[in-house]
């Protein structure tokens, strides 16, 4: 792109147009910019534009955003998101790097922040190795500039490029970078921090300037944090006194003129104080010895801070970071600072309790934004709230002063409850606080819920405080306390007597408060999921008495305002449906769920609600249709309209679910499949459906259901051709090839050979082409499994002949190069068994392998089979070596969500074989009688010693198991043992075999041979 004035003007116009309200010119401009960005020099042109002061600020701002995105997507050599955008050329990159710092520092704040972000992105890739000039340039400007914004701009940039030191592991590379940054930046940072300190001291009244200066100090502190994060650098240790002196100054700084008017806006001073608390906390955690000289001063500072900090949300961050510091101290060796009883009491009464008490903001949240309230209150995303931090402080103090702390809090709790009892309406917040403390100070537990608390007697607390709350006549009175009670019950659910639990809970499902009915649903759901040992605590039958009320209330809850898509309620429905014996309620549930489905598929918004909804449907199908296949028709009637909407209106979010449900329905049917399904089949092969990766697993599953349940359809029609088309497409890509094999495997398992015989050459063609083109471990394993399945289902002869038809003797090549070397990597019980059985068949039945000259191959195949059978999976299989294929993951796709209620067990394709080892032994014995003298030497030559020993053990185990032979069997000559073994086998298992002369058999080496290891003399 030329940098002509004209180009710049055009670009400026375009950016102006992108802000236009009218969509037409806007789209045109966007398109033009998109095309321009393909050309080399675009980035430089934008930078030029940004430096044109004559250009309107808004236009430059939008250009700056565009530039940042341009950098984001085109700076990396290979885009992490797999886009195919061309990278910026190296020469242009160098130009950009040369320009950007100067430009960034001299533009207005809004443009500056975009450029600073762009700079941070570039530095992620290039700094420091490929951008040696950056840091010197920043430092030089930092030292020379007197412009407030320039200095803040530099620091903000430095802050973003140093952040990586906070979340990467130590490594030589990281430390080299860190050292480089420290050498260049540590000293200037301290200089600027001190200099700014002096400026602040001499600037009394200019609040605008002061704010900028405080922001600068905050940035310095954040950089301090990054540079000190990995470990204490020498420079900072040498200058600790200077830093700490400044920190102390700011922690005790007050200036009312800098406070903010708005209640939830943090003042610059508080922001700085919070950043300082983070820093001293870091030192306290990691460098406590070097820091200890400053500790008592800071403890005092922070203490003082917490005494004055208000409960306003604007002080939240400061309060939590300050409490965090005290918590760290309380757990450290310096905990004695708090040892004094009066100090402990002060901490508890003046810091903990006020911060745990419910604030107006919490109440407001409870009413106005139940989702967020629940997230914080129940789901652990309260890590940085005052309540949570205050509880952490209690836990910290308890590390060394458990008794005192527990004693104090027990007393506080009793006192708060007493006050509540005196005047519930006025003092209910005290009870809230009490329950909160009991729940939060119990160790956080999962599964069965918490088991106890030091603070109160749980059982007694439950009876005296919780049950009355839940028995109150009005489910809507004091909803916060109801929510607390429900949370208590959820937390200590394993202690709650089974008899009362459901009874208490069910009526709260229809409480008006969203938090309350969500908690009730969640509590019921968790109670039902609970186990005593391996037994579910509640059996299906135990639900019977409550079932009607439970279901009525659950569905009623979904009609309450703002709870139409309440995921807690839906999850509870899912749980009830999959556990209870629904009987007459089945149709009610189905009708309700179908109605909801019909509603939500118009506009799917809440993914987890929708997921549980489909799970619930799948559970219904599983339970009802499994028992009574007549029901299927009812289900179809109710569900098909939804299926239709989803398919016709292309509701992408739901398609994978619908395919799974359809598959489930097909599986529940008795053949023949009704025509409606058959009619639905051709559209399922529409390529657009298969292009969405989230659809593929579900569609494959559905296709398999068709193949298994309506094989006759494929026997006649040309459908099979299309199915194989899908297979071909899937198998061509390394991310979906296994899915292709799922289909292929089902074809050869479910259809008769003559149905697909004509396609076999084509199938091999596809597979071998792919094999030549791209050999991944996953593909090879899938291929071996497929060939094994082919061999056991249709015979080794068809397998070898059809492969050889592609090219003479190809099967040997495949065996040599693919099958034998990779057989040992097969994993999974069913897969291992299948492959072992198939290989056994080849070894013992295939004339080609038994032929003269195939001996070495035979030996190696046996060796692989033995490894497969004898060695544990984790020893055989190395870690996945395939490199993930980035090209194929394009952009954002919805992920496939498996419905586990719609899942089915896999079946064993070689059910007739009980034990693959035994099968191998028996088959080998059998074939050895046909080829006397052939295998002994082969085995000795080809098998690893461990595998020889393994083979021996299999024989021994089988023989004793099968025939219960006498113990001295083992002590007699080995030859005799083998002959006996074979003889017996022949008699018992293979009665039709010829009689064998034992002298002909030299099957295995005698036990005194060195190659056979570990031949224990165990006897029974």
């Amino acid at each position: 792109m030329q940098y002509s004035e004209e180009t710049l003007r055009t670009l400026a116009d375009c950016f102006k147009q992108t802000l236009a309200p009218d969509p037409e010119p806007r789209k045109l401009a966007e398109l033009f910019l998109k095309q321009s960005s393909e050309q080399p020099g675009y980035g430089i042109a934008i930078l030029r534009l940004l430096s044109e002061l004559s250009v309107d600020d808004q236009v430059r701002q939008s250009a700056a955003v565009n530039f940042k995105n341009h950098i984001k997507y085109r700076w990396p050599v290979s885009d992490p998101e797999g886009s195919t955008l061309a990278s910026i050329q190296d020469s242009e990159k160098e130009q950009i790097k040369a320009l950007i710092v100067g430009l960034m520092l001299n533009t207005p704040p809004k443009i500056q922040s975009q450029l600073s972000e762009a700079l941070a992105i570039i530095s992620n890739h290039d700094f420091p190795a490929k951008w040696p000039l950056l840091l010197p340039e920043l430092v030089a400007n930092l030292r020379s500039s007197t412009d407030l914004h320039v200095i803040n701009g530099i620091l903000s940039t430095a802050n973003s490029i140093f952040k990586k030191f906070r979340y990467q592991y130590k490594s030589n590379e990281l430390f080299t970078d860190l050292k480089y940054c420290l050498d260049a930046f540590a000293a200037p940072l301290l200089e600027v921090f001190q200099k700014t300190g002096q400026l602040i001291a001499s600037t009394q009244d200019n609040t605008v300037m002061l704010k900028t200066l405080f922001e600068r100090q905050r940035l310095c502190c954040r950089i301090f944090y990054s540079l000190n994060f990995q470990e204490l650098p020498e420079f900072f240790e040498n200058h600790m006194a200077e830093w700490m002196g400044e920190f102390h100054k700011y922690l005790t700084y007050n200036n009312p003129s800098l406070s903010e008017a708005e209640a939830d806006k943090e003042s610059v001073v508080d922001q700085l104080k919070a950043a300082i608390c983070e820093n001293i906390n870091l030192y306290m955690e990691k460098n406590e010895e070097e820091f200890q000289g400053y500790l008592s001063q800071f403890a005092q500072d922070v203490w003082g801070l917490l005494m004055t900090v208000s409960l306003s949300p604007s002080h939240d961050r400061l309060a939590t970071t300050a409490i965090k510091f005290l918590t760290t101290v309380s757990k450290s060796v310096h905990h004695v600072l708090f040892a004094d009883g009066a100090t402990l009491q002060q901490i508890c009464e003046r810091i903990v309790i006020p911060n745990v008490k419910l604030r107006d903001e919490d109440e407001e949240l409870f009413e106005m934004n139940h989702v967020e309230y629940i997230r914080r209150d129940m789901e652990g995303s309260d890590l940085d709230t005052r309540r949570r931090m205050a509880c952490e402080l209690v836990k910290g103090l308890s590390t060394h002063y458990r008794e005192q702390v527990t004693g104090m809090f027990s007393a506080y709790i009793q006192e708060m409850l007493r006050e509540y009892a005196v005047n519930p309406a006025q003092n209910w917040k005290g009870k809230d606080c009490a329950v909160y403390l009991v729940v939060s100070l119990a160790p956080r537990q999962a599964g069965g819920g918490s088991v106890g608390s030091d603070l109160v007697n749980i059982e007694q607390f439950f009876t005296t405080q919780i049950v009355p709350e839940l028995q109150s006549a009005d489910v809507n009175s004091l909803p916060l306390l109801k929510a607390d009670a429900l949370k208590f019950m959820t937390t200590f659910r394993s202690q709650v007597p089974k008899a009362v639990a459901l009874q208490l809970l069910i009526r709260f499902l229809v409480a008006e408060s969203n938090v309350v009915h969500s908690y009730a649903a969640s509590c019921i759901e968790k109670m039902l999921a609970m186990k005593d040992g391996k037994q579910p605590r509640y059996s299906g039958a135990e639900l019977d008495p409550y079932l009607e009320q439970l279901l009525t209330n659950l569905f009623a809850a979904l009609k309450l305002p703002e709870s139409q898509e309440n995921a807690y309620v839906m999850k509870c429905i899912m749980r009830v449906v999959s556990m209870a014996d629904l009987r007459q309620f089945t149709s009610l549930c189905l009708a309700e769920l179908a109605k909801i489905l019909g509603e939500v598929c118009k506009n799917p918004t809440n993914p987890s609600f929708n997921h549980y909804l489909f799970e619930a449907v799948a559970a219904l199908v599983r339970k009802a249709c499994g028992r009574d296949s007549e029901q299927v028709a009812t289900f179809e009637t109710l569900l098909f309209p939804v299926v239709q909407i989803v398919l016709e209106q292309d509701v992408t979010e739901f398609a994978p679910y619908v395919f799974q449900i359809l598959a489930q329905l097909i599986e529940s049917r008795r053949p023949p499949l009704p025509s409606v399904y058959i009619g639905m089949f051709p559209p399922l092969l529409t390529p657009t459906l298969w292009q969405r990766s989230a659809n593929v697993p579900a569609l494959v599953r559905l296709l398999q259901a068709y193949l298994q349940n309506a094989p006759q359809e494929f026997n006649q029609a040309s459908q099979l051709n299309s199915v194989l088309g899908v297979f071909e497409k899937l198998v061509a890509s390394r991310s979906t090839d296994h899915q292709g094999f799922y289909i292929l495997n089902t074809v050869i398992e479910s259809l008769s050979y003559h149905t697909f015989a004509q396609y076999v050459p084509q199938i091999w063609g596809i597979l071998f082409t792919r094999l030549q083109r791209e050999r991944t471990v996953k593909f090879i394993k899938s291929l071996i499994i497929f060939m094994s399945l082919f061999a056991v289902k249709h015979g080794h002869a068809l397998l070898t002949d059809s492969i050889n038809a592609v090219q003479p003797n190809l099967v040997f090549m495949i065996l040599e190069q693919i099958w034998v070397p990779n057989l040992t990597y097969i994993t999974g019980d069913t897969e291992t068994k299948l492959c072992a059985v198939a290989a056994t068949k080849l070894l013992t039945e295939s004339p080609a392998l038994l032929a003269e000259g195939a001996g070495p191959l035979w030996g190696r195949l046996l060796n692989s089979v033995m490894t497969l059978l004898v060695r544990p999976e984790e020893e055989r299989v190395e870690q996945e070596t395939d490199i993930p294929d980035l090209d194929e993951v394009v952009g954002y796709t919805t992920t496939y969500a498996q419905l586990y209620n719609a899942g089915k067990k896999e079946e064993d394709p070689v059910e007739e074989v009980k034990d693959a080892k035994e099968y191998l032994a028996v088959s080998l014995a059998k074939v050895s009688t046909q080829y006397p003298g052939k295998f002994g030497a082969l085995i000795q030559q080809s098998l690893d010693p461990a595998n020889q020993a393994g083979l021996m053990q299999i024989f021994r185990a089988k023989s004793s198991g099968l025939m219960g032979l006498h113990s001295d069997w083992f002590n007699s000559s080995h030859l005799l043992w083998v002959s006996n073994f074979v003889l017996h086998l022949n008699k018992v298992e293979l009665a039709h075999q010829n009689r064998v002369d034992s002298s002909e058999i030299d099957f295995l080496t005698p036990p005194n041979s060195a190659t056979v290891v570990d031949y224990p003399a165990s006897t029974h």
Binding site: Y167, L178, E234, P443, E906, E907
Partner: protein, 560 residues
């Protein structure tokens, strides 16, 4: 990480998630140093040679108690200004006698030395000598000329002394000394008096202490061999200084210098022989040489062991109370046991002679209440505990466990981390080829019974990522390995879930993933699914996670 300097702890990987062998990687990783080098005061990387009696008065003396702060500051400023002025004058005076074309008579030669001595005494006054001022005034070229061959001994000594102190300053000052190096090195030779050689070695030691770049220059100019020879000097002070300078010269990160030293014939014997002489001060300096040798290559350790290093190390470890000596000795042992198992065997065998064995000696250091000792000792124990099953058993039964547990509960952060590594390693079986490490149930059970879990959950909550990872790995081990499925319950009781939750949103991908996976696996939604749906269905549901190496080929297959 100064405590682990140069260690190749592939051993540490036992507790790591399977990310491949990082042995060599970690060795170099620790070569880059961020923190202060925590050597004892006597063994500082750079040392100033102080003057005897300083004419300018002593500012570091406590100020007159009647003076107020401001007056003190004023006085200090005035005196430092005076000092600067004097220095400028002194350099100027020296210039009178040094320079091209100046030929001096005998009297003048004496005055020259006088002038030089004056500069030296200003540059070695106690507090903050005005090194900068002197260098800016151009003193270095003058000093270089004073080093010229054939100069009087006293003149060379005084000049080298000045250069020593200049080199002890910040980087710029050290670099200013560069032009003098060839002379300094040549004065290390046989013909120099011991005092001269020592002063030159001292200056060189300071230069080497600056960093790798300076070390490379010194090596290229041939400082290694003369310095090595001086280590065996009969003059104790000279031997000490040379050994100290040598330790600076070979300390890496590049292992080349250390290898060069070992290539000098008979060096291993010489070093060990010197150590045996028993002069404790010399021993301290030599021990640091040993630290760098053993950290640079396993092969060096092997040679040093073969000539009898171990008995000396272990004997002192079992008896000495000198932290200056114990620090490098502990680090040596730590380096040696970080090598292959045969070295650890040798250490354990050699320790058989003293009561309590080597583990006892290390435990003694763990109990000394001295942070550096504790950290070094715990590090050594952690590397022994990362060895064979026998090694683990010896650590476990050798009495170190109570001390380690105590440290884990109470010590400073970096010590706690080392103790945690040691305890963790005691509990995992030597890594076979399998992907996961197996717990040693007996050890694990005892440690858990003795209440080690809070120590590990504290690490999980710490801001240090390695510590957090270590804590997580240990919790994982407990949950997986404690018999009777007790693990998750114990972790739960000790508030382990809350600790893991603190990592659920961590910016580090691995930590976040590990924490979430563990919570899901042991306490999550899937908890109990197995009973409900059967293991195959559960596998199917979970099958989508990245860790599953290959999707089960029949997933989704139906059997009606």
């Amino acid at each position: 990480m100064e405590g682990n300097f140069g260690a190749p702890p592939q051993h540490r990987n036992h507790l790591k998630s399977p990310v491949g062998n990082q042995a060599g990687h970690r060795r170099r990783q620790q070569a880059v140093q961020i923190g202060k080098e925590r050597r004892e005061a006597v063994v500082r990387a750079k040392r100033l040679r102080r003057g005897d009696a300083v004419p300018n008065g002593d500012q570091s003396e406590a100020p007159d108690s009647h003076m107020d702060e401001e007056a003190t500051a004023r006085a200090a400023e005035a005196s430092s200004r005076a000092l600067e002025e004097n220095t400028l004058k002194a350099v100027k005076a020296l210039r009178e006698y040094v320079g091209p074309g100046i030929i001096l008579g005998k009297d003048m030669a004496l005055k020259k030395i006088e002038a030089l001595r004056n500069v030296r005494s200003l540059l070695s006054c106690n507090a903050m000598p005005p090194l900068n001022v002197a260098v800016e005034a151009g003193v270095v070229p003058l000093l270089v000329q004073c080093l010229a061959f054939g100069s009087p001994e006293e003149q060379i000594l005084e000049a080298a002394w000045c250069l020593t102190n200049i080199a002890s300053g910040e980087q710029d000052l050290t670099k200013a000394v560069l032009p003098a190096l060839p002379y300094l090195i040549s004065h290390l030779g046989d013909k120099s008096a011991a005092t001269v050689a020592e002063q030159c070695a001292w200056a060189i030691g300071n230069v080497a202490g600056e960093g790798e770049e300076m070390r490379d220059i010194l090596l290229a100019q041939g400082a290694m061999r003369p310095l090595a020879r001086l280590m065996s000097s009969p003059y104790p002070s000279l031997a000490r200084t040379a050994s100290w300078a040598m330790s600076n010269l070979i300390k890496g990160p590049s292992p080349r210098a250390a290898s060069d030293l070992m290539k000098i014939e008979g060096m291993a014997d010489t070093l060990v022989g010197l150590m045996m002489k028993g002069d404790e001060e010399l021993m301290v300096e030599l021990a640091w040489v040993m630290v760098y040798l053993t950290s640079m290559a396993d092969a060096h350790s092997g040679i040093l062991l073969s000539v009898g290093l171990l008995p000396i190390l272990i004997n002192k470890l079992g008896t000495s109370d000198q932290t200056a000596l114990l620090t490098p000795f502990l680090r040596c042992i730590g380096n040696i046991v970080a090598g292959d198992n045969s070295k650890t065997d040798a250490v354990l065998n050699a320790g058989g002679d003293i009561s309590g064995g080597i583990i006892g000696a290390l435990t003694r250091c763990l109990d000394m209440g001295h942070r550096t000792m504790q950290k070094e000792a715990a590090w050594a124990v952690s590397n022994i505990a990362a060895g064979s099953m026998l090694h683990k058993r010896m650590v476990f039964q050798g009495g170190a466990i109570p001390s380690l547990l105590h440290l884990l509960a109470t010590a400073a952060f970096d010590v706690r981390k080392e103790a945690a590594y040691a305890l963790g390693n005691v509990c995992v079986a030597p890594k076979a080829k399998a992907k996961e490490v197996d717990p040693i149930v007996e050890h694990l059970t005892v440690l858990v019974d003795r209440g080690c879990i809070p120590g590990f959950t504290a690490l999980v909550k710490s801001p240090d990522m390695e510590a957090a990872r270590l804590g997580l790995q240990f919790l994982e081990l407990v949950m997986r390995g404690l018999p009777g499925g007790q693990g998750p319950k114990v972790v739960e009781k000790e508030d382990g879930i809350a600790a893991m939750e603190t990592l659920q949103f961590h910016e580090n991908d691995e930590l976040r993933l590990m924490a979430n996976t563990l919570i899901d696996k042991y306490f999550g939604e899937d908890y109990g699914l197995e009973e409900e749906y059967g293991s195959e269905v559960v596998d199917m549901i979970r099958g989508s996670d990245e860790s599953s190496e290959y999707p089960p080929w029949r997933r989704g297959v139906v059997n009606g």
